[in-house]
């Protein structure tokens, strides 16, 4: 039973096709890893899922609802950078996920106290309790991304979109973040799409791994065709392993 339904998506910027004929069905609670060469359209695909942009053709439905017109609370997102608000303290960044639904984006009185208490709890859970009153600039990259994920989850989205969330982190922090994400995944029934450059990571975290690539490739004009989903792997069946993937696709052609 399909929760996220992507039907025959085309997306071009100007005359340049980026995505072509993308189709996808994802069941609720699935963790989908997305890999592909740089510039092939992974972020574009996420933007379409997020409803930040609308596709040139085709449509994307969540739980059968009509295609969304703009981003909303049912879709959470974590970008590689700029995902937290630099002008709010760590605690306020989490509280914002509650407060932003209000008329003026502010909470008062008992409600405010309750939200702050909940936020403090969340911070403890993501290991940022001791930094509650600091500003994001004082956090390391890993802490910032943990905060961004915590913030996104506080809004309880039905699908969570991650665009290279760990791209800027060192391997140690990255491993810790993996654990953090796997824990979260186990605790909720969220549908997650994660773009990554690290296929290992994609395999490790994803239930499914999809690969974007250009099915047709014109060596004299690399921009002539758009990309689509060329592989869709069930990561639990490790026989279609990384190696095949690397050899058969354009993933590793330098951009």
């Amino acid at each position: 039973m399909s929760f996220v339904t992507v039907r025959n998506i085309f997306q071009s910027y100007g005359t340049r096709p980026i995505l072509e004929r993308v189709n996808l069905d994802v069941a609720e609670g699935t963790f989908v890893s997305i890999v592909g060469a740089s510039g092939c359209g992974k972020s574009t695909f996420l933007r379409l899922l997020l409803a930040e942009e609308r596709p040139t053709r085709g449509e994307i439905r969540i739980d059968g609802a009509p295609p969304a017109l703009e981003p909303g609370r049912e879709r959470g997102v974590v970008f590689q950078r700029y995902s937290v608000f630099p002008h709010m303290t760590v605690l306020d960044n989490i509280v914002a996920a509650d407060a932003f639904t209000r008329r003026f984006g502010l909470l008062f009185g008992a409600e405010r106290r309750a939200a702050r208490a909940r936020a403090a709890e969340t911070l403890d859970r993501i290991g940022l309790g001791h930094m509650a009153e600091a500003y994001p600039a004082a956090l390391s990259g890993g802490m910032q991304q943990r905060l961004a994920i915590g913030q996104a989850l506080t809004a309880r989205p039905r699908i969570l979109l991650l665009d290279e969330p760990f791209g800027a982190l060192d391997p140690g922090t990255r491993l810790a973040m993996h654990d953090f994400l796997l824990e979260l995944k186990a605790g909720t029934n969220m549908t997650v799409f994660m773009v990554t450059h690290d296929i290992e990571e994609g395999f490790k975290l994803g239930d499914r791994l999809i690969v974007f690539d250009k099915p047709r490739w014109d060596p004299t004009d690399p921009n002539a065709y758009g990309a689509t989903i060329t592989y869709d792997l069930d990561t639990r069946r490790r026989d279609e392993g990384i190696q095949t993937l690397l050899e058969e696709t354009n993933v590793h052609r330098p951009a």
């Binding site: 981003p71 700029y82 608000f85 914002a96 639904t101 003026f104 984006g105 809004a155």
Partner: protein
């Protein structure tokens, strides 16, 4: 070692900082001395001691008629006008900056208009301004507002546009309405920039204030300078100029301090 890598020590830095000020003072003293030796009654470049005497008198002695120390009254009146004018300009800059920066419809409507507006020389249409706003306090404040608002709007709307798109999208996914995005994402982030833009506008703001006070007023720093100009009382004028410069510099320092204090998350500028 390259010049760009050579850094002065603290005492040298302090010394270097003083050099240009001392140079200006010395140049003035030489010029003043030369003129006074030719004509001891020369008024154009009074001796520093004369200026000091005049300044002491202006700052302490009351007016013979009313006993008020005029300098303080002038200062209070001018600062009030400046404060209200800059305040209104800052507020409009903020509101229109946000609207233009955030809402594509308003941007389409106003960006071009503000750009043209910023090119209109306000001093040339003074008669019309005076008729519309009267000759009282309003017109003086309005001149300051008209003078600096277009710059503030243009600068701030650009800053709003420069906010990373990711943050806006992020706020949307947290359920924020346009209003909430304006109030809680864009507004706080352009506040430090507003302070910086206001600091840059202080010079022009004083200019417009002085121009306004020279046309219709009977109190204020600009008025006093205008009044004594016809007697070439340079000792008074220079006292007032130094005083205005000092005030402007202090306001600048306070604003910088305020910005660092209120918005610690924003990087510090010059």
């Amino acid at each position: 070692m390259r010049l760009i890598n050579r850094k002065p020590g603290r005492p040298l830095a302090l010394f270097l900082m003083l050099v240009p000020f001392v140079a200006v003072i010395v140049a003035y003293m030489v010029g003043s001395d030369m003129r006074l030796s030719v004509n001891p009654a020369d008024k154009l470049l009074p001796a520093p001691s004369t200026i000091a005497d005049t300044a002491a008198r202006l700052f302490t002695e009351g007016d013979r008629r009313t006993g008020r120390v005029l300098l303080w009254y002038d200062t209070a009146v001018s600062l009030r006008r400046l404060g209200i004018g800059v305040g209104i300009a800052a507020l409009s800059g903020l509101v229109f900056g946000l609207l233009i920066g955030l809402l594509p419809h308003v941007r389409a409507g106003l960006a071009g208009f503000v750009a043209v507006l910023s090119m209109v020389p306000p001093l040339a249409i003074l008669p019309i301004l005076f008729i519309v706003f009267g000759l009282g306090e309003t017109s003086k404040i309005v001149l300051i507002v008209i003078g600096i608002t277009p710059f503030l709007i243009r600068d701030l709307s650009q800053r709003v546009i420069d906010i990373p798109r990711e943050q806006i999208v992020k706020a949307e996914t947290l359920g924020a309405s346009s209003l909430v995005i304006a109030l809680r994402v864009a507004l706080p982030q352009i506040m430090p920039r507003l302070i910086q833009a206001v600091r840059l506008s202080l010079g022009p703001a004083w200019l417009f204030l002085i121009a306004a006070e020279a046309i219709a007023s009977d109190l204020g720093l600009g008025y006093r300078i205008f009044l004594v100009r016809r007697y070439l009382a340079m000792d008074v004028i220079l006292t007032y100029v130094l005083w205005i410069t000092l005030l402007a510099f202090l306001i600048d320092l306070v604003l910088r301090w305020l910005s660092r204090r209120l918005y610690p998350w924003a990087g510090a500028g010059l």
